[in-house]
Symmetry: C2
Subunit: 419 residues, 2 copies
């Protein structure tokens, strides 16, 4: 396994103004390719600091990826340092990136200033990968001072993320990487420790060239990633498939996708395939489920809308939940969750409807502890409800409530649409 | 100015599974105290690596703060390394943290296992700050190997964040920090460059001991932070206040708060103080505004609810927008935005209502380019609308739409409630 270091450059990271997300995206891509990320370093726009750290890391790692420090402003001095440490004699203009600078500024209706033209200049020691998302080029410096190869990426997050495929392709082309293949299984509704116990016999019997990783996330559940090392591509695919078939049987309805996905995408695919529509009645989740559903491009094909009924009178007047029911059963109850889901289904005319009513925090009420949620799903085959109690803070309770509601909907759809 | 380094420890960061947010929170606190964060390093659960990096950084920085590597599982080897590099002779149990271990496990209904008891053990070179949010103690190692002081914090984000006040207090008590005071002004609705031009005469005339920083954020606008160094506390407060009064006059309605805040909190405070209620009709923002409003604890005092009308029939049937109006003016129009706001205000009986209708992407329609939004605010004094066009991707367009809608509501409330 070869080692890599990720360096993010910029004072705005060191004062905590900007959260560094580039490192994490780069790390995912490197790790999936079987490259060992040894460390990540964030450093400031300081010439000596950048030079010292990059030289040290290039001596210790086969690959160093930097982001940031390539903009047209005076703070951005990385390019000069890169020229210096790679022994460049002069700066040269890269025609492909120059064309891109003109194209991008034109599309934004801006004049091309000298500082913009300078963006297309690189040290003569650099190979350039044209950046199609911004004006600063992606630069490759091979075997700097006899050591590792440096990939210098722009710092703007969508430009850095956009550069990842080209960078990974270049790495694969130049480095003797172990062949590695991954398959993902998405699981929701079980704790990591319980899942590990449930699939232990299968996991323990895995062949030596296969490895399973547990990658948990509060909003998407647990991603199980099966990796296989080396061997013939087609043959290994078949062997993986056989193992995955066994795993799927063991998991049953705990599995919601057999590729890297999330609950809102899976729910969307189920609805779209069946030509069914969805509406929501959210109380304690306050719009979070609608936000997740509509974050999927194309969701307008199945999502009709939602009512966030934070106040009790809105539950009564808009959703038609009976005041007597609320008085009798309490607003956080199975009956009210059912009535809310049925109410919004009637109101919007959707095929399916999901509701939430609960206490996200900071406090509980006289009937229920903080963290309690009732979820309802109403559909053509009737209404079902379920309850959970989580012990997190407000923000994380809302996330868990929303994910649990999406999962309850997913289970209902899988049950009703496939039969 | 003294230097600091932040080290986050854990393999889960290096494979990109977990986004490191601890570094950013620590950086904010250190920077506000006038401490220079020189670098941030993320490293794996590897004994040699942890030892090498911590020793190197302690030799170069007065303060090193580490998070992570203190859990009860076998991966977590930081504590042994810390003992080693600080010259500890044995491990000792800290009574205060031991009591906390029992308390926390009891409250979760769990048995106390030997691995839990070991959590309260620390190297005899450590001073302990009791962690009240988790079982692993906060440890302080002063002048390790004659160099800087190491603060070792748990890695769990809310425990690390929770430890910051005690750590900062300890730093202030032991380090000769320059006195520094900050005041924040929140601004929304102007680009950073335009703002800088508008307040240039004032900024250029600032006394030498005052400094202004621009801290932009897509959801909250620009935070202007005025800092003052040294001097007598009371006297400096007065001088700052005088400068801020001038700045506020220059900013006019661009300023929405004179303390570190956000739009949803400001809107909540305005509504609460006036005893007014709010409802929402969201189309293109798909629940994002409701999500922001309800993320403020206590929002149930003024937020009645919202309708996310993604589909046109829901705009018609639930919000009562006339089909003829939609046909004639288009669904993304001033008239439909107004009708949506008025519709949800009528439906919920709220004092104020906000609506959005627009195109977040990926595509525009035949009438409007992608990134177009119409925002409506309906209230007791009538209905007003405004339109913007942003050029971002779907996710960022939704954020900008939501922030712009909150700001338009804020301006309306400030106008109508104070007169």
């Amino acid at each position: 396994m070869i080692d890599a270091c990720i360096c993010t450059i910029g004072d705005e990271i060191l004062i905590g103004q900007v959260l560094d997300t580039n490192s994490s995206h780069l790390a995912v891509a490197l790790e999936e390719a079987g490259i060992h990320v040894k460390r990540m370093i964030s450093l400031g726009d300081d010439k000596v600091e950048i030079s010292t750290i990059l030289k040290r890391e290039l001596a210790q790692n086969a690959i160093v990826i930097s982001t940031g420090g390539l903009g047209p402003t005076k703070d951005d001095i990385t390019k000069a340092v890169l020229g210096e440490i790679s022994g460049a004699k002069s700066m040269v203009t890269h025609p492909g990136q120059l064309e891109m600078v003109h194209k991008i500024l034109q599309s934004r209706g801006l004049d091309v200033l000298p500082s913009n033209l300078a963006q297309a200049e690189v040290p003569d020691t650099a190979e350039v990968i044209v950046n199609r998302l911004g004006t600063a080029p992606i630069m490759v410096f091979r075997h700097v001072q006899g050591g590792g190869t440096l990939y210098a990426l722009p710092g703007v997050p969508h430009e850095a993320t956009g550069a990842i495929p080209s960078v990974m392709q270049d790495i694969r082309h130049h480095q003797p990487l172990d062949s590695i293949r991954h398959r993902n299984i998405m699981v929701y509704g079980i704790a990591e420790s319980a899942l590990s116990e449930q699939i232990a016999p299968w996991e323990d019997a895995l062949p030596a060239d296969m490895h399973l990783a547990y990658l948990p996330n509060p909003l998407t559940g647990i991603r199980l990633r099966l990796s296989i090392y080396g061997g013939d591509a087609r043959e290994q695919e078949v062997r993986m498939e056989q193992q995955l078939d066994q795993l799927k049987t063991l998991l049953g309805p705990l599995m919601y996708a057999d590729t890297d996905s999330d609950l809102e995408t899976t729910v969307g695919e189920l609805l779209k395939a069946a030509g069914k529509t969805l509406s929501l009645a959210e109380s304690c989740t306050g719009g979070e489920i609608a936000h997740l559903i509509t974050s999927v491009p194309g969701s307008s094909a199945y999502f009709l809308g939602s009512v966030t009924s934070y106040a009790i009178p809105v539950k009564e007047s808009v959703l038609g939940v009976s005041p007597a029911l609320i008085r009798e059963k309490g607003v956080v109850s199975s009956e009210v969750a059912a009535a809310m889901a049925e109410g919004v289904r009637r109101l919007t005319g959707s095929d399916y409807a999901v509701s939430t009513t609960g206490l996200a925090g900071p406090a509980g009420d006289e009937c229920n502890p903080v963290g309690t949620v009732w979820i309802g799903v109403a559909g053509p085959k009737g209404t079902r409800t379920v309850s959970y109690c989580y012990k997190n803070d407000r923000k994380r309770n809302i996330e868990r409530f929303a994910a649990s509601a999406l999962n309850f909907l997913r289970l209902t759809l899988q049950n009703e649409l496939n039969h």
